[in-house]
């Protein structure tokens, strides 16, 4: 029953609301990133926390960049809150800023303790830059490249001598004869006019060049020459910058994006001498952060699912957590320009903090200093205040009412009775509970329906786990990223996510006993990764260390990629056998014959061919591997979680049967053969020794 006086506008408004959906219904459901964010976002909720976080982020926005000293030291800020307090929504609201500013938000889905921080973040950042952004629908690297190329072109023209500018316009023979007397100023001014028009913030660069009746190819040549003149030296950073900027120029001016993506995917490592893997990754990371800084884009590394990161096989892993803190502490000491945001449940963080030593604690609590506030290292999401809930109610209800003439005459708490917030306990709880109460109260007041009695939480045994896991699977597979070398870490994490729940996993007389998600091999920071699988003979004592690698390098990078994988056997050999999974674009049974010539040459020259198996993997299977960490994240937050291990095992075995088949059978057969050869060999050696 409505408790409002018998008032005309109130009744009209109630009648309108009765014909509309409950505006709190969708808010009360747990959301995840990019689900109708703008429909659900209420700026008044968590406004203070969001403002504070945006201030922290803006401290990383460099107004003027002249060198790494202008980049703030990397710092960690933790956002603490209970489950349902709006952490994920807060993270997403950072991307949808109302002031029009933007930033690069990297959201790692896994953590690998075996990788140095620079390699880990470099891979994450490269993937984030080359994939279309959920908010802007464009690839960040394209947006970053445009102002950089504009600036390069401007500097290129300005640094040219006056006669160079004349010759750049390729005067004809007669014009050159005429230029012996003079008349070059007109040509010179043509390029100078373009340089003047290249002030920051202008329109489309190609269009601008066309408007000045200049050739795009000429501009590309000028910038490349300028890079050769000014970005000199054989140092790693100079080489990386020359190649990165050159690829950006081609992407922006010639619309050839492939060289830039290939460069970010891993071709960058070809510029450096072998043996400097870590330095190369650090320099490449710096070059990318610098590009972001030049476009005033702070780089945010946001970990929003710490439960998953700290867990192995759905169990909290203390040592993994300790590694995580130490890696972050190293990042604080050794990198600049990165802001790490941790979105964590209060209970989980308390537990995880127990694994933080004093070295890490000192660094992680340094915080980001803000004007008139001091350092901010931790932020706690508090329950919404009555005023914020009041704003939420007014905002949502008025949106439902539409253009009602007497809307200003409605009571402020409409459709709820006056004093509702104080008496009904709708405020003072965490955000999701508040929204659930509002939904029920709205249903009662507007639809005059009695609220449902809260159902008792289902026991895990009663849940249809297969359906729950399937729905989590469907959601995880929604993202349709194209697998590339910048996703290699993610795929290896997916491989571990696939295999770890199955341990111990038996196949053909062998048993998989351990999985190491990533093992760094060789000198290449991107391509030099394999997963290590430890197999044991079920009946004998034989073991087999099996490396699994993905061949995803493209064009010239492919041969380098294969070479990096074969470094698995470089002395001292890291294992016994190697499977290289490759998604060829052409059909054929003999994969070696399908390899491009340069890659084939690397294969043919390798002495480890007999210990390496090249196998076809479909792109759809690679996508599954990429999505598996996300799926595990969903599984962790399912109602009734943790899911029973048996249910997860059965689900994975069924859904990933082909993948599992790919990873085991053929090579284990070879291992069997090898064990036989070894035993035969040892027998013959013994016989030989006996004869002598």
């Amino acid at each position: 029953m409505s408790s409002f006086p018998d008032d005309g506008p109130v009744h009209t408004a109630l009648d309108i609301l009765r014909g509309k959906e409950n505006p709190f219904e969708s808010l009360a459901r747990p959301q995840r990133l990019d689900d109708r964010f703008l429909d659900l976002h209420v700026p008044e909720m968590l406004a203070q926390e969001r403002d504070l976080l945006l201030q922290v982020i803006d401290r990383y926005r460099t107004e003027e960049y002249s060198g790494s000293a202008d980049l703030l030291q990397t710092r960690v800020v933790t956002v603490l809150g209970d489950r349902g307090s709006g952490k994920t929504h807060l993270l997403q609201s950072l991307a949808y800023r109302e002031d029009g500013k933007s930033q690069i938000i990297v959201r790692p889905k896994y953590f690998d303790r075996d990788l140095p921080f620079e390699e880990y973040v470099l891979s994450q950042l490269a993937a984030a830059l080359t994939e279309p952004d959920d908010v802007y629908r464009s690839r960040p690297i394209d947006d970053l490249a445009r102002p950089l190329v504009r600036r390069l072109l401007r500097q290129a023209i300005r640094s040219m001598g006056p006669t160079d500018r004349i010759f750049a316009l390729a005067p004809g023979r007669w014009q050159r004869l005429r230029l012996l007397w003079g008349g070059g100023r007109r040509l010179d001014r043509k390029l100078v006019a373009l340089a003047d028009a290249l002030a920051p913030g202008g329109g489309d660069l190609r269009h601008l060049i066309g408007r000045h009746e200049l050739d795009i190819e000429l501009c590309v040549r000028l910038i490349q020459g300028h890079l050769r003149r000014f970005e000199v030296g054989e140092g790693v950073l100079a080489s990386l910058r020359r190649a990165l900027y050159g690829a950006m120029v081609r992407a922006v001016l010639l619309e050839e994006t492939d060289p830039l993506f290939r460069f970010l995917d891993g071709e960058y490592a070809q510029l450096a001498a072998p043996g400097i893997r870590r330095e190369l990754a650090a320099r490449m990371l710096h070059a990318l952060v610098e590009v972001c800084a030049l476009a005033r884009q702070p780089v945010i590394i946001a970990f929003d699912n710490l439960e998953l990161l700290f867990s192995v096989r759905s169990q909290f892993d203390g040592e993994l957590t300790r590694s995580f803190w130490n890696v972050l502490a190293q990042a604080v000491d050794n990198t600049r320009g990165l802001l790490v945001l941790l979105f964590a449940e209060s209970g989980l963080l308390e537990r995880a903090a127990g694994f933080m030593d004093s070295f890490a604690r000192d660094r992680l609590l340094q915080g980001v200093p803000l004007f008139a506030r001091g350092p901010v290292s931790q932020l706690r999401l508090s329950p919404p205040s009555p005023a914020a809930v009041q704003d939420l109610i007014r905002n949502r209800v008025r949106r439902s009412l539409g253009p009602l003439p007497d809307v200003e005459r409605l009571p402020t708490s409409f459709p709820f009775p006056a004093g509702f917030l104080q008496t009904d306990g709708a405020s003072g709880q965490n955000l999701r509970n508040t929204l659930v109460r509002l939904r029920d109260a709205y249903s009662s007041v507007v639809y005059q329906r009695a609220p449902h009695a809260p159902a008792p939480p289902p026991s895990p045994a009663d849940l249809d786990w297969n359906s729950l896991l399937q729905s989590a699977w469907d959601r995880a597979m929604e993202h349709d990223s194209t697998p590339s070398a910048s996703h290699l870490q993610q795929m290896h994490a997916g491989l571990a996510a696939l295999l770890e729940p199955l341990l111990p996993f038996a196949s053909d007389g062998w048993e998989l006993t351990a999985v190491q998600p990533t093992l760094a091999v060789g000198d290449h920071p991107t391509y030099g990764l394999v997963s290590m699988l430890r197999w044991r003979e079920q009946r004998g004592s034989g073991t087999c260390l099996l490396g699994i690698g993905f061949l995803l390098g493209r064009a010239r990078g492919m041969s380098v990629d294969l070479g990096a994988k074969l470094d698995f056997f470089r002395h001292p050999s890291r294992g016994d056998r190697l499977i290289v999974l490759w998604p060829p674009t052409t059909e054929g049974d003999n994969l070696v014959e399908l390899l491009p010539a340069a890659t084939r040459a690397v294969w043919d020259q390798s002495r480890q061919r007999s210990r390496t198996t090249l196998r076809r993997i479909e792109l759809s299977e690679l996508r599954i591997l990429m999505a598996l960490p996300e799926w595990l994240g969903q599984v962790v937050s399912l109602p009734g979680a943790p899911a029973p291990v048996e249910a997860v095992r059965a689900f994975i075995t069924k859904r990933c049967e082909t993948l599992l088949h790919l990873l085991t059978l053929p090579v284990l057969q070879a291992c069997n053969d090898e064990e036989e050869t070894k035993s035969a060999g040892s027998t013959s050696r013994r016989a030989f020794a006996h004869e002598n």
């Binding site: 001598g161 006056p162 190819e217 050769r228 003149r229 000014f230």
Partner: protein
């Protein structure tokens, strides 16, 4: 052996400073104007200067005045004499560093004298350096600005005088060979009153002018090719 002090540039304390390709290191504008403030012509061999004239090299620096110690020419070409730089405001209201200079040549050198009379031209590059105050931890690569110095219309005057002189010499010789021909001066004056003598003289002067100019153009063309080759080496794809 006498010792020599060198000036070393502080490179700054940031080993990962921004790429020099992105920095404003070269002048925003560099022009040469004559005494009246009129920009000099720009040819394929550089800015065209004339012997005996004074010019101002105007530099708009991208650096703040507080950072700069001076803008100067490093080892100015021998055919230029320079004066100390000063700052001024140009017609567009920009602060400019003005380097006064004059194109001269050594009167004692025969080759310079010939050049001054129109035979031959001079060229070089102005190496413009922006020097920073101590402790500013900045440095900028010198900016190169090609110039070419060549004779002005004086060549015509010289050639005309040369023509009259040639006529005088011819009459003198005639008189020496054949003294019966009368007074030298009379003969010369008579010749100057005849149109065919003038035609001959101007024809000769014109031919010589063409020859000298052709020669100069060859030199200029050679210089232009050299600069064009440098451009291609730097900016070829």
């Amino acid at each position: 052996m006498k010792t020599e002090s060198i000036q070393r540039t502080l490179a700054g304390n940031d080993p990962h400073g921004i790429s020099r390709a992105l920095q404003d290191l070269t002048p925003d504008d560099c022009t040469i104007v004559d005494r009246r403030g009129k920009p000099v012509p720009l040819s394929g061999a550089g800015y065209v200067l004339h012997f005996g004239r004074a010019y101002h090299l105007r530099i708009v620096s991208p650096f703040a005045d507080d950072d700069l110690q001076e803008v100067c020419l490093v080892s100015a070409p021998t055919f230029l004499t320079t004066a100390p730089a000063f700052t001024d405001v140009d017609e567009n209201g920009r602060n400019v560093h003005v380097l006064p200079m004059r194109v001269t040549s050594d009167w004692l050198s025969i080759w310079s004298l010939l050049r001054r009379f129109g035979l031959g031209i001079d060229w070089d590059e102005l190496e413009i350096s922006q020097r920073f105050k101590p402790g500013k931890l900045r440095d900028a690569k010198p900016f190169l600005c090609p110039v070419v110095a060549r004779p002005h219309w004086s060549v015509l005057l010289v050639l005309a005088l040369f023509g009259v002189l040639a006529l005088f010499v011819q009459k003198t010789l005639d008189h020496v060979i054949d003294p019966e021909k009368g007074d030298r001066l009379d003969a010369l004056l008579q010749s100057l009153q005849r149109w065919d003598s003038w035609a001959l003289m101007f024809g000769g002067v014109f031919a010589l002018w063409c020859l000298v100019n052709s020669l100069n153009l060859c030199f200029l063309y050679q210089r232009t090719r050299e600069l064009r080759r440098n451009y291609r080496e730097t900016y070829s794809s």
